[in-house]
Symmetry: C2
Subunit: 353 residues, 2 copies
Amino acid sequence: MAGSTEVPYLLRAARGEELERPPVWMMRQAGRYMKVYRDLRDKYPSFRERSENPDIAIEISLQPWKAFRPDGVILFSDILTPLPGIGIDFDIVESKGPIINQPIRTQEQIDQLHLLDLDKFGFIRKILKALRDEVGNDAAVLGFVGAPWTLGAYAIEGKSSKNYSIIKGMAFSQPAMLHQFLGKLADAIAIYVRYQINSGAQVIQMFDSWAGELSPQDYETFALPYQQRVVQQVKATHPDTPFILYISGSAGVLERMGQSGVDMVSVDWTVDMAEARARLGHNMKVQGNIDPGVLFGSHAFIRDRIVDTIRKAGNKGHILNLGHGVLPGTPEDNVRFFFETAKQADQLMAVHA
Amino acid sequence: MAGSTEVPYLLRAARGEELERPPVWMMRQAGRYMKVYRDLRDKYPSFRERSENPDIAIEISLQPWKAFRPDGVILFSDILTPLPGIGIDFDIVESKGPIINQPIRTQEQIDQLHLLDLDKFGFIRKILKALRDEVGNDAAVLGFVGAPWTLGAYAIEGKSSKNYSIIKGMAFSQPAMLHQFLGKLADAIAIYVRYQINSGAQVIQMFDSWAGELSPQDYETFALPYQQRVVQQVKATHPDTPFILYISGSAGVLERMGQSGVDMVSVDWTVDMAEARARLGHNMKVQGNIDPGVLFGSHAFIRDRIVDTIRKAGNKGHILNLGHGVLPGTPEDNVRFFFETAKQADQLMAVHA
């Protein structure tokens, strides 16, 4: 039976086993589209409290688990969460996103950063342990981490940016300083990932959300080497924990993502899954890649797109997911239908064969 | 001498002639990064007035021409400009973008749209004629138009959207209605393009700005056929006017852009230009594709990136441009340096050979 074995089903896909249906979860599956989440947000309006108070973060992480039984349950967190651990404080303002009070702009600020102080992250251990206890082998627990370029972009821009003109200005006129900063971030992130694994994370989902803003040659200079540095450091001590890398707007650098050392590339929806497979080669596993906008369509349309995506991805080394986080405003009933249909995909594929 | 012949130099690239250096202009070259533009904006705060009052629009279109002598001068306009001509009114709110007061959501609204009323667009004729008179053969005059999917997205969403969930909801549950709307838009746009050509436009730059939000299969259903419909209708009467198609975030659909019937694909910066050439084939001409963020870098960096892009694009069928519009905040001196360097690229390439 798909879904109940000695290891979580999702891990079998991450190992490349041939499977009757792909495991399924959704990026941002705990979030604003759920009424239970919005209610909890009204009660605890601070994002940092919601993600750093273990009781609340556990409850939020488990909301989609309780509602839809996905094959993966991801730590509810933010990519910026580790930054205070090296000396960069931040806040998250509702509907505006993260604010860094003192954006990193000078060599002096970079010199003052310290190694990651793990004492600050006891809540991460508590959350991950609780998630493992709750889901057992019925789902895999995923860790959650940002990659150096993206954390650097936030820290330097000081907030969500449209154009990344400040970090790019630095990259294109003071590259040595930026490289130093990215190196420090990579080392901190590697420590943070190891801590997540030691605390129970069975898979690591790494987001380099803003790396898609780079031209391919700049990606090779400022993003890829630091993704590699994180992966290499973690793999040195934890070789068996799968890494998944997601970048939004990655169609121009897809092959290069495959060079990062990760086990699986999370493909966004702007690339055809069959073309992604061809470009990445058969040794690379894939996650994705249904347009989150599909969940605003009819049930028949959602079902067809699930079948189409699974057919294009093939029957091994694929985790079914959206090509981006589920959108605010998505009808919860469509999310329910998506999971239900995906978990019966073995029967569906047989019918459509 | 490059730059002064019987036909504008840019047209020679559009025809595929072998050239010593590519012609150069910048998307959004008239705009907020220029102090003269900001001063004029303070005087005329309404975008619609700036783009529809011919005296002001002529002055704005010519601001970069006077400052930098690009090889192309584009009509200062907005992609939504033709919408009132079929019965969809809009306003543009500074820093918020366009607002459609009555977004298109029903079959009844679509039934009520009428054929494009050209009487409303005398200002377009005046602007284009004045630009031709002013620049003569020293630059080509480009027309400016949005493609059906993108105009449809604005008209349906009612404003700039992050997720396009309303038009996608329509596409994925009521496709017949959306197809009807897109068809009407295509027919109106074709009439509008012909009018621009008859008024003096020598090249048509078509923006399908939001088509990059579509998965490749949805692009083939909802964007590509309507780009083709516009191009076919215009080519039937004006076969010699080159069409350039730009989409932001097009790395996943680049080959498909080549099927639109346009003469040249404007490549965004997230694709390597050499890879774009390989993917598009040698019969397709290209425009682009320097990251606008490069203009926040050092002069040496800007120069290297110009050389690199020209080398990758080759010496025919290439117009040098950014991979997106020039960004607000870009130092004007760097724009000046970019144009100066690009116009001496023949010497620069010889030195670097």
